[in-house]
Subunit: 307 residues, 2 copies
């Protein structure tokens, strides 16, 4: 298959492109940091808002797209206009261009659990929880979920929206993501360093390893869309884990003391990223998506891919 991946030099993108190449696909990657796109892919450097770049990516045909490029949550709050330009306008243009190229390409869209909003129902989230985003990022992602459904219903594309939970463990350094603390915990404990976690140990997250996430994207490229809800959108299965339990498991697997972690809650940050209620995702499971299975497996997977 000829597959275009936007954000191909990003954290999830690199893992996904490696898998797609290993399966013999012809991959065109787009990224502002083209050097980060895995070797073997056709690498296009630039901003996904660039019309010329979009046309170049689609030239020569395209059976499927995976749209990962985004202005992430923290950056979108700081610069809502940039989020609107990239997360709405550029993506809408890309969907229209992909549709105009013909062949009703599979369009896999990386949405986010941020579409669900704050506060989440304490009793739990399931496939019937209404979307009521509060973050700019979540709002724009949710708007484009609707666009994917509409263009799919019109037969212009064959869309699949997957809502990503926290993906572990991202590289260290500025990512524009306020949820970076979840990943930084892995880096600190693997290095035997102390870590100040901005939540209580009881704080709960929804998480998936990057390897499992990339597998889910591979699945999204070929899954039967008749198994999806009418919205074409599924919340990916994730494990609900307390930060305390995750710290203990990471420490155990790294052979260090969980005492390296001190807990200094930032109430606002914990409310936004560490107060996730029980999650059930029957729609995604029905369509063949999966989580990591256990906390131990998630941690082992995340540690094995730590950069």
């Amino acid at each position: 298959m000829k597959i275009v991946v936007t954000g191909a030099g990003g954290f999830v993108g690199r893992h996904l492109v490696d898998r797609l190449l290993a399966r013999g696909n012809e991959v065109t990657g787009i990224d502002t940091h083209a050097a980060a796109i895995p070797a073997g892919a056709r690498a296009l450097a630039g901003d996904i808002g660039d019309a010329v770049l979009q046309k170049e990516a689609l030239a020569g045909g395209c059976d499927a797209l995976v749209h990962l490029a985004t202005v992430p949550g923290g950056a979108a709050e700081t610069d809502p206009a940039a989020s609107r330009r990239i997360n709405i306008d550029a993506m809408y243009d890309l969907v229209e261009r992909a549709a105009a190229a013909g062949g009703r390409p599979r369009f896999v869209y990386a949405s986010s659990i941020a579409v669900l909003g704050h506060p989440l129902p304490e009793t739990g989230v399931d496939d019937s929880t209404p979307l009521s985003p509060e973050l700019i990022y979540g709002g724009h992602k949710a708007m484009m979920e609707v666009a994917i459904a509409m263009f799919s219903n019109r037969g212009a594309i064959d869309g699949v929206t997957v809502r990503l939970p926290g993906i572990l463990a991202r590289p260290r350094g500025p990512s524009g993501m306020k949820s970076a603390f979840m990943s930084d915990l892995f880096h600190a404990l693997k290095a035997g360093e102390s870590f100040t976690c901005p939540t209580r140990p009881e704080a709960t997250i929804w998480a998936q390893s990057v390897a499992r996430c990339a597998d889910n994207f591979v699945h999204a490229l070929t899954c039967e869309t008749r198994l999806l809800p009418p919205t074409r959108a599924v919340t990916l299965p994730a494990l609900r884990i307390s930060m305390g339990a995750m710290a203990e498991e990471i420490a155990r697997q790294c052979g260090v003391s969980a005492g390296l972690v001190s807990w200094v809650p930032d109430p606002r940050l914990e409310a936004a990223f560490g107060a996730y209620p029980p999650l059930t995702t029957p729609a995604a499971e029905h369509a063949g998506f999966a989580n990591d299975g256990t906390v131990a497996k998630l941690v082992a997977s995340a540690l094995s891919t730590l950069e």
Copy 2:
């Protein structure tokens, strides 16, 4: 209250502005046909996509907005770019401008049952039916429902989205609405003319009289938003009526024969506009919105406002 009404010269807009003026409000109306805006309102002529016009409308303060201006369904299918420009971009700009003006204004958004999509579940539609639009119009309206929820959750505006069913009876003539046949039936029978209905008599619509619709907008301006769902969006209560029953009731009230109506179904049109399943709208009723009560009352109301 200082209230800005976009599309104030349109069918629903004129009825609404009349009511708002009668209640002593200070109304600024925007319309491409400013001459159609009822006397007594400050009338601004122009396209809602015009930034200068938006600023002018908001200058001098604004407690609430009712956003009716739209590229309607048929026109949006013909010109999706115009729909994107007006139904998404211009509205997004307007919400941001209204928010920036401060005071967290009430923002009442006229959405549409087109957000629900095709085909609708045969067993019926309720407040949990997922949005899966097929029309460009419905897709764009649904995208902006999300934006209203997001900006409301952020405290930037105090949003209320009402999804309009078929509103009866629109003036004769080109409206850009494919559903015009529902209204044209009223005009024909009142004039004692024969009418060819492009559906079977068994075709079902969801309808509301324009007077009831205007009352619902007045209610939306002051209703308690804590009574609304987290999405801030409600499908307005509507009567589900068969075209045959409606024709008989109109004929009865006009003193003409229902035999004036002949039925020549256009299967595609009937599938789109005449196949509405049972509808329940507990969320809207909980928040105080209402339908016309009975078919006879709806028809009487629509006939009394026929232009």
